[in-house]
């Protein structure tokens, strides 16, 4: 490994470093700073992680829509018709499609995490495969669900 730093290499010494590549951690130790996003080569597990956090935040908003649905139902037929009218509009359907995609991916990515927590699929290839499966399965679940909703006539645009 010719590229590994040599002992005494001044460019790699946190004491004399002037490039800002080292940070003092809260525990007082000096550690190299992680390379930032533009340095990373994008890989699928990175996307899996970013999308999972995005889905989680999306679902937090989705919870508001679910509770709003219960409020509308508890307020009688007129309120319920107003709610379903709004949610049946193109924008409303887009919001619910987004909630469906977020729920489906957070579910499949969550199962992926549980598999990892159990100690399986932790090789690079295994982790990549699990991430691809979770993304494809989520798309199939969400798109299939909405295709069935439209085909059965339960939802009309």
């Amino acid at each position: 490994m010719s590229s590994s730093p040599q002992p005494g290499d001044a460019s790699n010494d946190p004491v004399t470093d002037q490039t800002g590549r080292f940070v003092r951690q809260p525990n007082g130790r000096v550690r190299p700073l992680s390379p930032h996003l533009q340095i990373w080569r994008f890989h699928i597990t990175m996307w899996g992680s970013i999308l999972n956090r995005g889905a989680a935040i999306g679902l937090s908003f989705g919870a508001l829509f679910v509770v709003a649905w219960m409020v509308a139902a508890a307020c009688g037929p007129d309120a319920y018709a107003t709610y379903t009218g709004l949610m049946g509009s193109p924008l409303g359907l887009l919001i619910w499609f987004g909630i469906t995609v977020a729920a489906a991916y957070h579910l499949t990515a969550g199962v992926r995490h549980l598999i990892w927590d159990a100690g399986s699929g932790l090789s690079i290839k295994g982790a990549d495969t699990l991430t691809w499966i979770s993304i494809v399965a989520a798309i199939v679940l969400a798109v299939g669900f909405w295709a069935a909703l439209f085909l059965s006539g339960k939802v009309v645009l």
Partner: protein, 134 residues
């Protein structure tokens, strides 16, 4: 910080509530897997079913209990997840405390609202005179 670190099988034992929260994250995830699948099936049932379809669905005790479990466990899971997001990106202690307080209050409000409206719907209580859409 005064206590010496404890180790079990060469793994450091968490000093505060970290281990409990880690377990709670996995426990809620595990329970939410079947509940999420049930929620997809339920969404299929109530979609396009109208007011009578929805209120009829709520009056089934199985649906009411499963929905209460889904919502309350989801909100608990959501609270732990959002806390991690704030911990990751917000470094200023005062902003962090304020945000966590706000999110905590929102989660509590969501949990109370879920139970309140769900109980009314499950018991078939009279529509609330809120005048929404009336």
């Amino acid at each position: 910080m005064s206590k010496p670190a404890r180790f079990v099988r060469n793994v450091k034992v968490s000093e505060r509530e970290g281990a409990g929260e880690w377990k709670a994250e996995r426990l809620t995830s595990l329970i939410l897997v079947p509940l999420a699948l049930w929620a997809f099936a339920s969404a299929w049932t109530v979609s396009g079913a109208g007011y009578d379809g929805a209120t009829g669905w709520f009056r089934s005790p199985v649906n009411a209990i499963l929905l209460a479990a889904t919502l309350l466990i989801s909100i608990w899971h959501m609270w732990m997840g959002l806390k991690v997001v704030v911990d990751d990106y917000i470094h200023k202690p005062s902003t962090r405390t304020a945000l966590l307080g706000g999110i905590g209050l929102l989660c509590l409000a969501l949990a109370f609202a879920s139970v309140f409206f769900l109980v009314r719907l499950a018991l078939g209580s009279a529509p609330l005179p809120a005048g929404l859409g009336a």
